[in-house]
Symmetry: C2
Subunit: 666 residues, 2 copies
């Protein structure tokens, strides 16, 4: 390490430690240990543009161990991103661009939100898949439009999390050679030595997944790390560089211990570290002038590559105008003009079809118009109806294909969908049973927090799945998804609502959407008689008012239970009780409507309201009010043919009628 | 294979396939492929007692691939458990003892509910930990009271799930030699060949975890399988036997294909299989007399061991009366008489302490009275305050210890807690941040479905955790936990409610309990002035009515926000507005109260109600009613010192006062 390199590395260390100390909160250990690795990546290996952080062909960097956020903030500041030193001084303060963990969209250059361990690891896998797919689709001779790598720093915690195992197995299977992950092998976790709980042979494990692995004995050895990175770039497999580092490097009493991980070092300890490493104790946030210049030079390192790529882009637009237009459109995330014309319209049909089946039809109808649709299923393709007919499986030999067999790996699928969306150029979707949304909540939550367009195809959405029984019957899952801020949950009632649900999901550019779809057939509603399915976009809408006069009672339902209120409504109207029928596919979309629209659908004057849904009743009180009633399932389900379960649990039109009458009698 | 063995194996196959065909629903593939393995386990290897399925020293069998439930039902019936043939004929029918996936408590001999892949794998690890711990605690020379193994059949899907990777890594670390897992390596997943998505070297991966692995080329080769099982028993490491099987063995067109996995074979196909294997096509559910006798003999195989063990038990009670009494009590799951005297009482204190801190104090106060408490944290010991002072770490060299370093493996921890509870003899608890309850929902749900006593210590329960920011701040998690049927969620308001929360959790023998605890300090309420914390058991209770006359408004809150309503209540009362203050630690417990009690706390006549909680508002409408107001956080949090976030998001006493006044003005 040259003197300048040493100063540069220490600058990273102490910018990080000073910020943590000033905030009196944060994680100094990782930045101090891994500063040399970050230094090397940003000065010698990664291509990036601080002036154009969204450059499509940039290398991606993922700090999977997100608690080390100051490392990333330091690098972004030093290399010239729009992240002023003042923001580093406001680390972890209200409204700063430097929150406790890196958040996508808050500071430029943050490729993904990380912190919950394992998420970044798996998200990077999604980014690599997107890059492979887009490269296969758009690269042409002399036009390597997509030619970048995915770097990550991952921690012991990341490797212990199951999501990483899932993602690593799939990455090995797909031979995602773009992945270059550096494992901060510091032998310390929060509870103490990793020997307490983590004694597996990590290199052997990753080799078993089909990864290339290489050891670096000392993270401070720039030459060894450099060589490892070069090896990793050449190897066609994903690479894990196991770098032995010292957590909190330099701290006199805390380095190499769990105490260095997640708390401010303290003034004395920090001063001691500075003295140990030959650094001035004051001023804090010191960036020596030569170091600043060194990093700014590094920040301009890729300028030639950046300019080459812009030239490439121009030539590409000239030589492949159609491809180029599509490539650019997809990069922007815009949908092609008129694509929605391909959305199917379904004829009324009393027998109908399962909404998972209509979803499959919709997907196949729009897939040719939307080449950016890229997705699959966690080994439930036939059940989720997520396949695109004739589309082969995406894999190493066929990266241009866009159907993904994720394997039985729901959590990794969730994070991979995030990585696909974050990379850009694709709109990802993924299917599993609704009940297994539980397995991927960690990733769904991050999708919602980041506001990325991801579409979940959750089928078998209730006791309506029947015989598989309570282990597979979601009951609490609609409520649990609705609880997540910024996630749109859509439970369409029939085939035409399904069509509109895909429309809503695709137009929902800044949030993930969860589609809850039935296993069992539901009638396709006669839209001549009842309001058009386009109203789905408003979250809830009046299907019809039945009866001779103003409605006295409102019946509302989502998904498969809408057919029950249709039946109940007919009965009530026939018996002289005028009734309003409300289809309620999405609480979230309804909440977004103006109060006036909400009051039109649910007039405060009509307090007799019955909601029915094959799930827990929780939260429906908001819509039925104190005088209303909710028919739901506040217990686990049963294993039996589904019609019998519906009857057994009282989810019937007759019960709705009875409830409505009972409310009206009050 | 002898002729009788062959007949016996085919009996298992066709009992399973006939049941699936009759139900017109289910999974014939696994039972038909793995019948020889099950045959061997039940006739040659496992010790069990059909007459006393709860025999503490029985070997445990876990069908992690729960979709193959008919294999298990067939074995239970054939070996003499109280599961009549008629129940097999009612496979997957309403109210039968043979639901689609094995459910704990529904049929005797079902050790755990399985179906969601990976859960059984990880649950077995918990069972082995319990056995190791109890053996170390209670076995004495000549008295091997605890001396059993954990067998499981696991599938491709199980091995793909991250939860299994987590559990396998920990099992290898702990050298849980009791584990003998047989991997149904049939090369088929639902989407088709495992080559589509699962090409890792499974044996190498498990070796990297520290497991012993052995291949069996043909699952029908009883001799090879027998030898593998013997090897596994002798090896001190956990064992994975990779058994190459043929899914749907015998089915003329479907065997070895995904079509054999999860649907009825069809009448013709099933008849063809019977002909292929020399089996009469009719009658279905055939059990030849010699086969029946053979299995009944197998069911009596362990009688001698059983009787020996009962003799051991008697001798143990004589030679080690105190140990024996404790052992028996713990097996029953009863708490020691008077243990609750050890629960601490905390003095009023305006400064107070974090509820995670009081939880740590409570745990340490009761730990010596409750040797059955066994748990730990997913690498957040210091944060969760889950450690028992002076208690060493449970590991291979110290299995008598009862503190577990789970590593950063929340999902496996959840399932291991289930396994510990199911094994019996311990009461398990596990800690992580509340936000990471997301990572373990799959396991929490099964705990609730099974009704096992598991205690979750979820700390850092809101934006009150401050600077770590939105990735670590639970917002939707209380709602998401409350949505799960049969799970008790408890968010105590102060140290004395924490004490009572542990009491409730421990007395809650047939359901899991989630404790939501603060990172930040909360005042310890003066119980001379306000109602006793013992009221926590009722879910919600009147802390006090403040003011000169009957209350006009009700303020309610849980956890850390109770201090805000106390402050707001004082203000309102001073300003002449009489107010009721309700502490609301648990919706679930309150719902269990008689309507009369509920109406006493929340009289219908008082419609001006304000609830405040640092989480999504969803569901609080039920308690505040249509005229009420809820102050909550229907968005993600912020990274900042926590007091600033509370103010920024309007969670203040002043805002409560304002809302109350606004409601009263209506």
């Amino acid at each position: 390490m040259t003197e300048l390199q040493n100063k540069a590395v220490n600058t990273i260390r102490f910018l990080s430690a000073d910020a943590v100390q000033k905030a009196n909160s944060g994680h100094p250990g990782l930045p101090m240990g891994m500063a040399p690795v970050a230094y090397l990546l940003w000065t010698e290996h990664m291509k990036y543009s601080p002036q154009d952080p969204g450059w499509p062909d940039r290398d991606r960097f993922v700090l999977s161990a997100g608690h080390g956020s100051m490392l990333l903030y330091a690098m972004l500041h030093l290399t010239g991103y729009d992240l002023p030193l003042d923001e580093l001084k406001r680390f972890r303060q209200l409204g700063s661009k430097t929150p406790g963990h890196p958040e996508y969209g808050v500071a430029p250059g943050i490729e993904t939100t990380t912190g919950p361990l394992g998420q970044g690891f798996a998200t990077g896998v999604g980014m690599a898949m997107a890059a492979d797919h887009l490269a296969a689709t758009y690269n042409r001779a002399s036009y390597p439009m997509v030619d970048h790598a995915i770097y990550a720093i991952v921690s012991d915690g990341d490797l212990m999390e199951g999501i990483s195992s899932e993602a690593a197995s799939l990455a090995g299977h797909l031979q995602l050679g773009r992945l270059i992950y550096i494992y901060d092998d510091n032998h310390i976790s929060i509870d103490g030595s990793t020997a307490l709980a983590f004694s597996e042979d990590r290199a052997a494990r990753f080799q078993a997944y089909g990864w290339h692995t290489v050891h670096v004995e000392d993270a401070n050895d720039l030459q060894a790390m450099n060589q490892a990175l070069e090896e990793a770039k050449l190897d066609p497999r994903p690479s894990l560089i196991l770098a032995h580092s010292v957590i909190g490097y330099g701290l006199p009493t805390k380095q190499g211990t769990a105490a260095a991980h997640g708390e401010p070092p303290g003034v004395e300890e920090l001063a001691g570290a500075k003295r140990n490493l030959g650094w001035p104790v004051e001023p804090s946030f010191l960036i020596p002038e030569d170091v600043r210049e060194h990093f700014r030079t590094a920040g301009r390192r890729s300028n030639a590559l950046y300019n080459d790529w812009q030239a490439l882009r121009t030539g590409y637009a000239r030589d492949f105008p159609d491809l180029a237009e599509e490539f650019e459109r997809r990069q922007r995330g815009d949908l092609p003009v008129g694509w929605e014309q391909s959305l199917p319209v379904f004829e009324p049909d009393a027998k109908g079809m399962a909404t998972r089946a209509s979803s499959g039809k919709v997907l196949n109808a729009i897939a040719s118009q939307l080449p950016e649709l890229f997705g699959g299923s966690a080994d439930l393709t036939g059940s989720n109806k997520t396949d695109i007919k004739g589309e082969p499986a995406f894999d190493h030999d066929q990266p241009g294909a866009r159907y993904v067999h994720f394997g039985v790996r729901e959590h990794a699928m969730g994070a991979i969908l995030n990585g696909l969306a974050l990379h850009g150029g694709v709109i990802p979707y993924g299917g599993t049973f609704l009940v297994f949304s539980d397995y991927m909540r960690g990733a769904i939550r991050l999708a919602a927090l980041m506001g990325v367009r991801v579409i979940y195809v959750f089928t078998h959405d209730s006791i309506g799945l029947g015989e598989d029984g309570p282990t597979h019957q979601p009951v609490e899952h609609l409520a649990a998804l609705r609880a997540i801020p910024n996630l749109i949950t859509l439970r369409p009632a029939d085939a035409n609502e399904v069509s509109q649900a895909w429309l809503a999901a695709l137009e929902n550019k800044h949030a993930p959407t969860a589609l809850a779809l039935t296993r069992q057939a539901v009638p396709t509603i006669d839209r001549q008689r009842f309001a058009p399915a386009e109203n789905l976009a408003r979250g809830a809408y009046i299907l019809a008012d039945l009866g001779e006069s103003e409605p006295q009672v409102i019946l509302m339902a989502s998904g498969s239970e809408v057919s029950l209120i249709l039946e109940a409504g007919e009965t009530l109207a026939k018996e002289g009780m005028p009734v309003r029928l409300v289809s309620f596919p999405s609480w979230e979309l309804f909440k977004l409507q103006p109060a006036s629209y909400q009051a039109t659908v649910l007039p405060p004057a009509i307090t007799a309201r019955v909601a029915i849904e094959a799930g827990v009743t929780m939260g429906w009180e908001r819509w039925v009010g104190s005088q209303g009633a909710v028919l739901g399932i506040d217990r686990f389900g049963e294993s039996a043919p589904y019609e019998e379960i519906y009857t057994d649990l009282g989810l019937t039109a007759a019960h709705v009628v009875e409830q409505a009458k009972s409310l009206l009698a009050k």
